[in-house]
Symmetry: C2
Amino acid sequence: MARETVYFDKQPKITAVSTIAGQKEKSGPISEFIDEFMDDDRFNEDTFEKAECKMLSHIIGKVVEKKNLPLGEVDALIAGDLLNQIISSSFAARNYSFPYIGVYSACSTMSESMIIGSLLLNGGHMENVICATGSHFSTAERQYRYPLELGSTRPPQSQWTVTGAGACLLSNNEEDIDYPKIVSATFGKVIDYGVTDANNMGAAMAPACADTIVTHLKNTKTKPTDYNLIVTGDLGVLGSRIVKDLVWEKGYDMNSNHVDCGEMIYNICEEEFQGGSGAGCSAVVFNSFFYKKLLQKRYDRILFLATGALLSSVSSQQGESIPCISHAVEIKR
Amino acid sequence: MARETVYFDKQPKITAVSTIAGQKEKSGPISEFIDEFMDDDRFNEDTFEKAECKMLSHIIGKVVEKKNLPLGEVDALIAGDLLNQIISSSFAARNYSFPYIGVYSACSTMSESMIIGSLLLNGGHMENVICATGSHFSTAERQYRYPLELGSTRPPQSQWTVTGAGACLLSNNEEDIDYPKIVSATFGKVIDYGVTDANNMGAAMAPACADTIVTHLKNTKTKPTDYNLIVTGDLGVLGSRIVKDLVWEKGYDMNSNHVDCGEMIYNICEEEFQGGSGAGCSAVVFNSFFYKKLLQKRYDRILFLATGALLSSVSSQQGESIPCISHAVEIKR
């Protein structure tokens, strides 16, 4: 039936983006593309959780400002994050008076929110929607793993949760022509190969990501070389190797044009091990580096797949493995 | 601009429903409409969390079975729940091989998922989608409030989290004509009147619910009496009084045709105080009692608003008040 893939004939445009990140991301290789950096990880708030919320609230305001849009013209905010009950997104939404659609897809939130936004625009229901997500090293670490004060040793298969947030504005106004556009998308399935190590997200997420890539290629009758790049969210170094192998096993070769946001955001040294992760990873990298390259027409077709691990600390404590998901968005210039 | 309200010209049909609940709900006034009951709250699982997941997985299978649909014909599952990282929904989705769209809107999940499902059907992208959510007294209590073993005294403003889950199948096949149909919906905004008592959900959620009701009535140019009923999710006894007052202040009188699922699910005695709550409350009541009444043409137009409190235990501990939301779905026969 192949209805995992949805096509947007009205081609919603990505008309503005906004990103913010921390000092660690500032010293990474793509920092020149990121809009703003926080001086410290608390962002002048009492707690890291409140800082994460403030980052989201901040970039939502900024993306509207960049497009020069009155706040009343924003039809909806679609957002989610990694914190329990996605409080960063919901509390950020409280600062604005537009309709709010909360989503949860772990680190795959950026692409899920872009698909739901595209559905609203393509159906002619709305004209301007904001898609946003973010993450924070300190909130994620203490929620999913150990208290920060414990100073736990990080194993070599681990990734570093990105402190940062990204938002994009999808619009379908008549004057919005010369922008990157979303032409199709493929919803992911929940896939679990039985990985139980909450430090090895890349290996856990790679099978779900590979499944969505292969599904999208099959449904759209395309091959990897039809895209300038296939961009995955936060598989990291190890996960990227695995996803390429898994896709290759299905008869597709994406060795020459696959990149992973988790491999791009840091100068990977010992501390980061496998690279970046977190909902903020793909949100920051896509809405900074990739958006600019699309705008400059350096790329004219990319497949963007944020990747999410759907575990919780409770599911891990109860002995469960890690189910994962990845939603794909095809963007053309 | 009034783009909070979306209209579905293809009118997605609700072609099947499925519900399950616990023994406490079995002794309530609408139990004859609920499909199945668990013999015990653990549902033959090790933990309450796994039982909650099993309930969801069970009703997803049942709703497909009721419609006599091959599993391969299901185009997507849209689900969410109250547990951290919506693990009940994600782990339930793992048991099926269809695309999964995770949402989080606390106890407003039932209506949010129905709106997203309607968008997919109305846009012609998909033909059969399942919307599902649930909750469990024991998982919610220990996650949001106190360990069960503590035997905390419940204050008089508290509600009882429903142990139960509900799913509906939205379809747009040509042969699906004589079913309740979703004609429009209004997305809610995040509204916070400063309530900080995590036991007083009804009072916290009423303003958000009132806002969505008034917005929907204004945008659709209707008045409360145009509907057989305005059905709210889980405001409980106190919250129901407040929402009627707030709506009345805006010039609408819904005293004669408002009902609340939280007031309907239990024979309200001392233990339940203000009535039922939880994502499962509106999911069970809508997909049992109201669906049957719509099917029997007892009602021909209802406005259904699940209501959600977007707090987490961390946000409460950090001194935050409770932001709330409510999404509305208009259903016609």
